[in-house]
């Protein structure tokens, strides 16, 4: 039905009179555009750009924000700093926009300054891949403005992800400060939680429900598959592919169970983050 509609639409759009409509529309658009140019002299800029402002350098920022500028020297983003390349290196103004107007206005929140905490486009300028991921169907609502990049990452100090030896925190605390239930504690924890929440979830976005790295059994099999690909084939005695049609986990063939769904569905291994009553994380 939709294919028929699509064909019909294409036929309609290919009719000469509709070609002329497109032509007229394009001509009209360009005409409005150029006529407007004749009457408007001000500058329109893409989001996260500050019209008419020029770069002043991080030293100028330090006069009011000394603590932030000082901490930035050891931040992950400082890795990209290039001496003397003001305006293109990730100093303050690379993210906050050219600061001359902000300085002239005497500072102030939002006064001629970009706040990346409110505008993720600032981060997306370099992290193009994250723009794509946050626009996927299953993502933290950064695009909707309900959470921001800076809720999880501190761009001004330390590692962008808090897991270095130079800091006392760890990566999972970034997640569990909001998702407290997943922090446990549990009588029987899932060791993947120790490895990190990002073992199974892509926090920026995924094509899969719950931002899962995979929405099927492959997610679990990555660490639990006891598949004999590198074992000797007992039939031939040769190493390599056996291909006996089994999907072995925990010493048991799970092939028929996977016909029903995934590993964590009801009746199987429901307690994916940890359990207080079942070591195999059944419930």
């Amino acid at each position: 039905m939709s294919a028929c509609n699509s064909d019909l639409r294409m036929k309609i759009l290919r009719r000469p009179q509709f070609s002329n409509v497109w032509l007229f529309g394009a001509v009209l658009a360009w005409s409005v555009l150029f006529l407007a140019c004749t009457s408007v002299t001000r500058t329109v800029v893409a989001p996260t750009t500050i019209a008419g402002a020029t770069y002043v350098g991080s030293a100028e920022c330090a006069t009011c924000h000394s603590e932030t500028v000082d901490g930035f020297k050891h931040a992950t983003h400082a890795n990209l700093s290039i001496a003397g390349a003001q305006g293109v290196d990730p100093s303050c103004e690379s993210c906050h926009g050219a600061g001359s107007k902000h300085v002239q206005a005497g500072g102030g929140r939002g006064v001629f300054i970009v706040n990346p905490g409110k505008e993720p486009e600032t981060c997306f300028q370099c992290h193009l891949d994250k723009r794509g991921e946050f626009n996927l169907p299953h993502a933290h609502p950064v695009i909707a403005g309900k959470v921001s990049c800076t809720d999880c990452h501190n761009p001004h100090k330390g590692r962008a992800i808090d897991n270095s030896a130079a800091a006392l925190g760890n990566e999972n605390q970034t997640c569990t400060k909001c998702h407290t239930a997943q922090a446990g504690p549990y009588v029987f924890k899932h060791n993947a939680m120790v490895e990190g929440c990002t073992s199974c979830h892509n926090p920026h976005g995924s094509v899969n429900q719950k931002m899962l790295v995979a929405r099927d059994a492959n997610l679990c099999l990555r660490c639990h598959l006891e598949h004999p690909a590198t074992l000797k084939n007992t039939a031939t005695g040769q190493p390599g592919f056996v291909g006996d049609g089994k999907i072995v986990v925990g010493g048991e063939d799970h092939r028929t169970r996977l016909q029903n769904g995934t590993c964590w569905v009801s009746g199987c291994h429901e307690a994916v983050h940890g359990s207080n009553s079942s070591k195999p994380l059944r419930y």
Binding site: A36, H127, R131, G132, A165, T230, G251, T262, V265
Partner: protein
């Protein structure tokens, strides 16, 4: 017939030419400018939005994170006032009714004295009722059409005392809540799949039931945090000492729904080889199981930490810190699953019901229990020290070492609720079973790290970072089990052999990366980073040679280029490649096929991401920005190497997609801007032809367009009108979450 006369086409061309001519004459006459859309220092912005959605409203709310019924109110309020030369008052607010989005924050700051802040923030996250997979015949359980949502609220108060040359004191209290209902991926099963079910297993080439009944979680979570800290600088040493008390009170309930609308008949349908072939109706294939699983945690943690940094010289500083955390938690579970069982005297519904007949083993109860004496404690002591040094100009080196010692003990006793149902009489009796569950872990971790950065070469910065985390410890676990016993009407449920573990544990995590940033010229910047991660976790039984070891390695590189061939034109390109592999070493009990302990390749992944952004401002009055992301991602485990029947069950997890967006802004008048937006998304890996199993991959198409007009009515009042259209087709959910329709948004912003 050409409905568009030549004269009109000629007029259009002439119109265009005049436009070009006029533009050429005025472009050079550009003079000083004012921006009618510069940010106000204080303002109130009221807005409203609504959509006329055809299709699944809940899916629209989930995708757009806004109510399909519309919302309106104060989108943003910011008031900044100087009460006197040294005192500033800031008020922020938001109240979007319909979206459940609220903010009220008041901050009073006095220079060289400190600040006081109180606030409340709440926002809503929307969910649809998606759950389950699609069987091959495109059957799908009905979805919850009403929108689900959770609300996150945070009430906080903070006092900061910051006198000149004196310690800075901070006191903060926050009370965060998360309440509401969302969908779960712990799907239930059903036999209403269209797959034929015969009374003899030999006639059923593959499983008839599928886990595709939607499931939901009700959240009721609370976190209260009390923080007190003091920071100061004495001489060349700055330090911060803090104490944090965190109290959680979480009760999350998951609703379980298995085989809804089904109950096995009594007497049972004969299944012996000599019986005639009978096609079983799906409503008679299994017994319905329904109920809830409620998990509660009340935890109290106290964290005391102190950190310092001493700047010995301009090029040398040392730092360190200690943190001690104790956690005490009361754990509780109430899991009550009711089973419907048809008997000679009618249907019996009981929690934890299992059936016994005149012969054979009893059926397995659905694991229902309530807990008692659930408790867990954790102690974590962390300390680190390091040095930051600049041995030569522009070479920055950080050396750090962190040590962690942690231990935990946890226990929970479970009272299993089992109800024995005698099929022949309908008699029921309680069969309680008590089990113990305990665990204990001890771990010691050491993490050395080196971080190097050099920016002494003109237009080039180089950096490297290496850290290696080594953990050694031990764990013991005891998990009481429940099993069936006996046969016939004497069949029952008893405590089974427990699952026990007494292991030495170990972890080795290495992270390595090197990178460079090069300004090749004023028009070209190049960045590149190579990374490698190597992890291995092992669990070795203390009393035997049994072991489970999982290791994985990821390697890849990122490269970015920023090219500015012309003023106003920028190409930003990013490519990320990541290749991963994992292996498992485990004891293989299936000696028939694979004797002994061996290594198994368990994962092979390939990811390629290409991102491109083009920014172009051909004139001062116009800009374009186009974004494109293309991702090729595949994750292989057992397919296809498992071979045989396994290949009919499993496929690789392919997560390819591409999405693109376009935005253009244009000044159409001295006080009016026009903005065009468009976005596209497509995933196309859906494999619906899995006859034996569930489908794999995802397939969806989404597109949206919007036109916005921004107009500054006066220097203090501006407005935005935006109209758009969305279209979403999601094949993965069988089309049940499709939606399309127009939306409109209107806002007015007034300077205060």
């Amino acid at each position: 017939m050409n409905a568009f006369p030549f004269s009109l086409r000629r007029s259009a061309c002439l119109f265009t030419c005049l436009g070009f001519a006029a533009t050429a004459g005025r472009l050079s006459a550009a003079d000083s400018e004012t921006d009618p859309f510069q940010a106000y220092s204080s303002y109130i912005k009221v807005s409203g939005q609504s959509a006329a959605i055809t299709g699944n409203d809940a899916a629209y709310a989930t995708r757009r994170q806004t109510s399909p019924d519309g919302s309106a109110g104060i989108e943003d309020l910011h008031l900044s006032r100087d009460l006197d030369p040294n005192t500033a008052l800031t008020i922020d607010g938001r109240a979007l009714f319909g979206d459940g989005d609220y903010l009220a924050k008041v901050n009073l700051t006095r220079n060289e004295v400190g600040s006081v802040e109180v606030g409340y923030k709440r926002f809503r996250t929307f969910y649809d009722g998606i759950g389950g997979f699609f069987p091959h015949n495109s059957y799908w359980q009905p979805l919850a059409q009403e929108e689900l949502h959770t609300d996150r609220g945070n009430l906080w108060a903070e006092v900061k005392i910051a006198r000149p040359n004196a310690p800075v004191f901070q006191l903060r209290f926050s009370d965060e809540r998360r309440t509401g209902e969302k969908d779960s991926t712990i799907w239930g099963d059903t036999d209403f799949t269209g797959v034929p079910i015969w009374n003899k297993s030999a006639l059923n080439p593959y499983s008839s039931n599928r886990k595709l009944v939607p499931s939901y979680i009700e959240l009721n979570e609370r976190l209260r945090t009390y923080l007190a800290s003091v920071s100061h600088t004495i001489g060349k040493t700055s330090f911060v000492i803090s104490i944090v008390r965190a109290e959680t009170d979480n009760t999350d309930t998951r609703w379980i729904n298995r085989y809804p609308g089904e109950v096995k008949p009594y007497p049972a349908i004969p299944t012996s080889a000599s019986s005639p072939n009978i096609l079983i109706a799906p409503e008679q294939a299994n017994n319905a199981i329904y109920g809830f699983d409620e998990q509660s945690v009340e935890s109290y943690s106290t964290t005391v930490s102190g950190e310092f940094e001493t700047r010995l010289t301009d090029r040398l500083s040392v730092f360190g810190g200690v943190r001690h955390q104790t956690i005490s938690a009361d754990l509780g579970t109430d899991r009550e699953l009711t089973t419907d069982i048809m008997t000679a005297t009618g249907k019996v519904s009981a929690v934890g019901a299992f059936s016994v007949g005149t012969s054979g083993s009893p059926s397995r109860p659905p694991y229902s229990f309530t807990s008692r004496d659930g408790h867990a404690t954790e102690k974590i002591l962390s300390a680190n020290c390091g040095v930051r040094v600049e041995p030569v100009k522009a070479l920055f080196v950080t050396l750090a070492l962190k040590g962690e010692d942690s231990s935990s003990e946890a226990r929970m006793q479970a009272d299993y609720i089992n109800t024995k149902v005698v099929l022949g009489t309908g008699a029921v009796s309680n069969v309680p079973v008590f089990t113990n569950n305990t665990s204990e872990t001890n771990e010691t971790a050491w993490t050395p790290e080196i971080d190097v950065r050099y920016s002494g070469i003109k237009n080039l910065s180089l950096y490297a970072n290496f850290d290696y985390r080594h953990v050694s410890g031990d764990e013991t676990a005891y998990n009481g089990a429940v099993t069936t016993s006996g046969s016939g009407t004497a069949g029952t449920v008893i405590a089974g052999a427990p699952i026990t573990a007494e292991d030495n544990t170990g972890e080795n995590h290495g992270h390595y990366k090197i990178g460079a940033n090069w300004n090749a010229c004023s028009a070209l910047t190049l960045r590149s980073e190579l990374f490698y991660r190597d992890h291995r976790n092992s669990f070795a039984d203390i009393a035997s040679t049994d072991a489970y070891i999982v290791g994985y390695r990821y390697r890849g590189w990122k490269v970015s280029g920023i090219l500015r061939p012309l003023p106003g034109l920028t190409f930003t390109t990013r490519y990320v490649q990541q290749v991963g592999e994992a292996d498992v070493r485990a004891d293989q009990t299936d000696a028939t096929h694979y004797a002994g302990v061996g290594y198994y390749d368990s994962m092979d992944s390939r990811n390629h991401l290409i991102g491109e952004t083009i920014d172009w401002a051909p004139t001062k009055q116009l800009y374009f920005q186009a974004n494109l992301n293309v991702v090729f991602a595949t994750l292989r485990t057992a397919y296809p190497s498992a071979g045989g029947a396994a290949n009919a069950v499993l496929r690789n997890a392919d997560n390819n997609y591409w999405n693109a967006s376009f935005v253009s802004g244009f000044a159409v008048g001295p006080s009016t801007n026009l903005e065009l937006q468009a976005a596209f998304y497509r995933a196309d890996n859906y494999q619906s032809s899995m006859v034996v199993s569930v489908p794999y991959g995802a397939e969806a198409k989404e597109s949206s367009v919007a036109v916005a007009v921004k107009h500054a009515f006066t220097d203090r009042l501006r407005g935005t009108l935006k109209v758009g259209y969305f279209d979403r087709q999601n094949v993965t959910t069988g089309g049940f979450t499709n939606f399309r329709g127009p939306m409109a948004y209107l806002s007015l912003e007034h300077a205060l």
